[in-house]
Symmetry: C2
Subunit: 335 residues, 2 copies
């Protein structure tokens, strides 16, 4: 399998450089690290940071900018950033108001963010952490105790970023993050495996006519392998499973992400979206907003995930607030 790369060993390093050279006025790389921060911090604002393995672009650094993240640490492909880098990240993004770390629930990420928090606290940086575990497919998994953190993290970034931009305290910002986590669920599926740069071939075998439901963003096993399903069957199955977990009352408003895994044409995501919306309607839910695109990918995997978040006035205001990042821009209401 061919890829547009140079030396696989330099893949993440070169990607980080490529992001900075694309957005030199937005992003700054901390020397000798794979930590990116926004070009200049905002005094008096709680810092919002995240990090994790690479291969999920535009997650993580694509969401750095006004109204979302202040910084992100990139690990090697599908590998947690080191505690040292996460400590550097937290320190780099603190203006004295403390730093909120948005952690996806993988054992390596949780452990390294924990250690980094202890290291940063020694340097008088107050750190809070919230752990996203939105994947409803499986309870434990290959790299996870408890549920995996996947595309619902985008809603967490948006809410905590907006709350911090509005002047929220560290405690208040963490609280809205927890609120999103309590109200969001995601499930994914794959038509094909992803191909990591180091290996250069498919990570797992999936027959030409097989698909895998409930798969994770690193290709971790899901709930079942089945024969090929139609877009309608896929969209319905994923949405039903998420709703089964969230169990929202009829009439509830929801925000939705139909997310591509990296190798899926946008047109196919729109076709899946029809079934997602029909399923929401069948449950008498009211779609407040839908996002369709590649928000949290798995390299070149073909497949999609469906994320549903129930929203109230507070979350709607935070989700709709202005944001200006490479991967997500909201013009705001006054445009």
């Amino acid at each position: 399998m061919q890829k547009l790369i140079n030396d696989p060993d330099n893949y993440v390093d070169e990607m980080v450089d490529g992001m900075v050279s694309a957005y030199p006025e937005r992003l700054t790389r901390v020397d000798d690290t794979k930590v990116l921060t926004r070009d200049s911090l905002i005094d008096g604002k709680v810092g919002i940071v995240t990090g994790g393995g690479s291969g999920h672009e535009p997650t993580h650094a694509g969401y750095i900018g006004d109204g979302m993240l202040d910084g992100a640490a990139a690990g090697e492909v599908f590998t947690s950033p080191t505690a040292d880098e996460l400590d550097t990240l937290a320190q780099a993004c603190d203006t004295g108001e403390g730093v909120l770390c948005v952690v996806k629930n993988y054992e390596g990420d949780v452990m390294n963010f924990d250690t980094a928090a202890e290291m940063a606290e020694i340097e008088d940086v107050t750190v809070e952490q919230i752990v996203v575990d939105d994947d409803v497919a499986v309870e434990d998994s290959l790299y996870t105790s408890g549920r995996r953190g996947v595309c619902g993290t985008i809603f967490v970034h948006k809410a905590v970023g907006a709350k911090a931009a509005a002047g929220g305290s560290l405690e208040e910002v963490a609280a809205v993050g927890e609120k999103v986590i309590d109200n969001v669920g995601t499930m994914g599926m794959a038509l094909t495996s992803c191909v990591t740069p180091a290996k250069g071939e498919e990570t797992f075998d999936l027959g030409e006519d097989e698909i895998e439901l409930g798969i994770g963003i690193h290709g971790e096993p899901g709930t079942e392998r089945t024969d090929q399903l139609s877009a309608e069957e896929v969209g319905t199955h994923l949405t039903e499973n998420v709703l089964d977990d969230l169990d929202p009352a009829a009439g509830t408003e929801v925000a939705v992400i139909v997310n591509g895994m990296g190798g899926t044409p946008l047109s196919e995501l729109f076709i899946v979206n029809n079934a997602v919306q029909s399923t929401l309607e069948a449950h008498e839910l009211d779609t407040w907003e839908t996002m369709v695109g590649d928000y949290m990918t798995s390299l070149d995997m073909r497949g999609c995930s469906v994320t549903v978040c129930t929203v109230d006035d507070e979350l709607k205001e935070l989700f709709a607030a202005p944001a200006d990042t490479p991967a997500l821009t909201r013009a705001g209401d006054d445009e």
Copy 2:
């Protein structure tokens, strides 16, 4: 090859529905057509429309919204919309100030837009057309007399959309479109063929270790097939070829798109971007802005294109002006 579809015959129809159900407050479908328009037209503004074959998403309808397009017609996959649909499109987007059609240079598109313009003029809609032919790779091609229209069209949409939003007359709007066309060039490459929904298998054969340089967005033949190249070689080759065509003076400012073909991980595009920027620097050009992502795709093709547009104060102002569309949002300077 599996795809997330239902009946291939309904692919475009369902995609158009999926776009409307994702963005019901932004997009309206004209009954019994594959024409999408913005939810409500702006009185006194020149209408900006485009169209072409499907399979290039987010092109075309993804650029409908404030500051860009008023409407777009979707043909079947890689097939021009009919003259009837394009006539409907022009009429639907006219508020009395006339309509500018942005046409990519393919024989079917040019012919059908020409016929549609004649039909619309009968209904007293003043129509101007501009034809984008930014692909520097080949002079004539499978579906083309003269050069192909590819990803440089995004810059055309942005400039004419901003000019129209600023109150420009039909003549003035067409003039800035021609100005972009005169100053933009693109070249693409592919690692793999795309797979159309109808055929379900690769459109053309490319060996496991081969790539094709100068390829079109429908998989039309390029300039050469070669053994696998590194990201650096690809980025350099494409950029050098575009610059060879544009021949900008040292010190010129340029806007750049590193565009994915649909199946390429975003991380790889950032790696290619390093070579693009190095090449621009070697030519003593000053990068004013870079966009990296999937702007004009070829279904699930793996590959990329590089677009360079030389910019002056007028084009920079138009490119930076606010826009709010599903695929491209600009917050504007006052954010």
